[in-house]
């Protein structure tokens, strides 16, 4: 590192602190937003991916798990079960709804994604039970731990929808979709709770195959054999489910990311620029003494880069330290910090530093060394 760059930078500690602080805040904001996006991405599709199915079955036109706008006849399960390629079929009744606790007024509701499943098959039910019992019995429900944490629902409480209620008997993990969580009941309970008519209607079916590696070929064959029904892989279905939530959020996130980048760039750029203007005479002296423009550009570039990197390490550190606390304080604030994203932010910071140095460098190029002889 050049002596002049280091000395100029560290001789103005307040300016350096402002500059580093500005870049750090920008990096922190970018880091938090990216981690939030990753966290939601992980969380929203997680349940669909983790159900140990090879294929999800839905009626044509169904987009995702959360909309649950699929209608399948129960008889389809029996037909599919007859196929030699199929190992297991589990029909599911899935319905988004609002419920309230017994002690809360009826208008103080929260969202759940009710999942009715066959406990004898198990597939599509709770992924991991962390408290209480599972499977649930008649008129019983196993809620997600996120529902417990967010709304304070405890085992033994009743959840109401109109005059009907379910008793919470267990807490499961892995069914948080950020704005809603899955709640598991038996198929019969789901039919009664939802007053389903006809009672033979199902929302989705999940299949396991004898030869899972053949699932794509088998899915195409089944689609031809059963018009109006689609067969999709868990990854595809999870991706569609993610898109439902994140597609709307992504443009907003991108705008905020751009704003954060511009703020960081503006702070770094302005401080590097004012430092350069303030030292214009000294750059003129160096030019007079025979220092070429490349040397002077390097001085500015190094100052900008060091400011940027200090800001990056501070901002990345803040992200790593503060993100878990934020998640504890606000359950919807689901963050997942990836090292690849941190590396990406380092790249963004380098870009920021390059841009921040550009205008000061142009300023240096225009300094006439003759001016140092005036006054």
């Amino acid at each position: 590192m050049l002596l002049v760059a280091r000395k100029n930078l560290f001789s103005e500690r307040v300016r350096l602190a402002i500059s580093v602080g500005g870049v750090a805040l920008s990096v922190f904001l970018i880091g938090i937003l990216l981690s939030l996006y990753r966290g939601w991405n992980e969380q929203v599709g997680g349940f669909v991916e983790k159900v140990p199915a090879d294929l999800w079955v839905a009626s044509d036109g169904t987009t995702d798990f959360l909309a649950a706008a699929s209608v399948l006849p129960d008889i389809l399960a029996a037909r599919l079960q007859l196929l030699p390629e199929v190992d297991t079929v589990s029909p599911l009744i899935v319905r988004p709804m609002e419920v309230h606790r017994a002690k809360d007024p009826s208008d103080q509701t929260f969202d759940i994604q009710l999942v009715g499943y066959d406990p004898l098959i198990g597939m599509g039910g709770p992924l991991e039970v962390v408290d209480g019992k599972s499977p649930p019995g008649p008129d019983e429900v196993v809620i997600d731990e996120a529902t417990r944490d967010r709304y304070g629902v405890q085992i033994g409480e009743e959840l109401f929808r109109g005059a009907k209620s379910l008793t919470v008997v267990g807490i499961a993990r892995g069914g948080d979709f950020v704005y809603t969580q899955v709640a598991f009941v038996t198929t019969e309970t789901a039919i009664d709770f939802l007053s389903l008519e006809p009672r033979t209607v199902r929302t989705f079916m999940v299949l396991t195959l004898v030869n899972p590696e053949d699932r794509d070929v088998f899915a195409r064959r089944l689609e031809n054999a059963t018009p109006g029904v689609k067969y999709v892989t868990p990854e595809h279905f999870a991706s569609e489910t993610r898109d439902r939530i994140l597609e709307n959020i992504l443009p907003i996130l991108i705008v905020v990311l751009i704003v954060a980048f511009i703020v960081g760039l503006a702070v770094a750029g302005l401080t590097v620029y004012t430092a350069t203007v303030e030292k214009s005479r000294e750059y003129g002296i160096l030019k007079a003494e025979g220092f070429g423009n490349p040397y002077l550009y390097r001085v500015v570039f190094e100052q900008s880069m060091i400011t940027g990197m200090m800001g990056f390490f501070l901002g990345a550190g803040m992200t790593l330290v503060i993100a878990p606390f934020a998640q504890d304080a606000v359950p919807q604030f689901v963050v997942f910090v990836r090292w690849q994203d941190i590396l990406g932010i380092a790249g963004i910071t380098i870009l920021m530093s390059l841009f921040a140095a550009y205008i000061p460098i142009r300023r240096i190029a225009s300094i006439d060394p003759v001016t140092v002889f005036k006054g």
Binding site: K7, S11, I285, A288, E289, G290, F291, G292, K374
Partner: protein, 236 residues
């Protein structure tokens, strides 16, 4: 003792700023030579063209007409990067307002100039900077920032910096203007002593009459025209 080696030569050099009816002629047909071991004072009133002469001689400003030669190199038509190389290798500057880098200590101010010189590594530059500052009686000020030094000390550091890279030509612009009479005399005596010891060609631009006693030759500049004077002459 004046050598016969010609270091600086200006032949019929003119400099005009602007063009047409707004043209201002700052230097007119100036012919001027300085040899090794010689101190030449360029004197004249404000606005007479002294700084223009100095900056042309320092390869910082191109003349409108004429030829400038520094240590045998015709610098008139050199590229910017080659002019920078000439300044770096062959010219030392002493400025009116010292022009030390404020964030650097005295030692670093000298060292940074030395390190820019192709032949100096970092360790060599540090050692040479220490030596020269000690030779200028600034051993106790090596780690002081300019703001902690007196004006006299700053100018001594500036002269040390100018001589450190062993240039053939020293150009000093009003080196005593910001110093009181005593400090000004000390600084000029030091510049004279070191320049003579090292056989440098020195051009001192000033309107301070006290400079005359240190010069081998005095050149009077008025309205852009040069006139030779003897040191004994009095200026009005």
């Amino acid at each position: 003792m004046v050598e016969h080696r010609l270091i600086l030569s200006l032949d019929d050099v003119s400099k005009t700023y602007g063009a047409g009816e707004f043209a201002v002629s700052a230097l007119k047909d100036a012919t001027f030579q300085v040899h090794g071991g010689e101190i030449v004072a360029v004197m004249g009133p404000s606005g007479s063209g002294k700084t223009t002469l100095l900056t042309i001689a320092g390869a910082l400003l191109r003349p409108t007409r004429g030829k400038v030669t520094i240590s045998g190199i015709d610098v008139t038509a050199l590229s910017e990067s080659k002019l920078a190389a000439v300044r770096r290798e062959r010219i030392g500057f002493v400025y009116q307002s010292f022009n030390l880098l404020e964030a650097l200590t005295a030692l670093e101010n000298v060292r940074v100039i030395l390190q820019n010189h192709a032949s100096n590594g970092r360790a060599d530059a540090m050692e040479r900077a220490r030596e020269i500052l000690a030779a200028f009686g600034l051993g106790h000020r090596m780690h002081s920032l300019p703001k902690k030094m007196s004006d006299g000390e700053k100018q001594r550091v500036a002269i040390a910096r100018a001589l450190a890279k062993d240039p053939e030509l020293i150009l000093a612009d009003e080196p005593t203007a910001n110093l009181d009479a005593k400090r000004g005399h000390e600084v000029m005596a030091l510049l004279q002593q070191k320049a003579m010891e090292l056989h440098k060609a020195v051009v001192v631009v000033s309107h301070d009459n006290r400079i005359r006693e240190f010069a081998h030759r005095i050149v009077w500049l008025e309205d852009g025209r040069l006139h030779e004077h003897h040191p004994e002459d009095r200026f009005v």
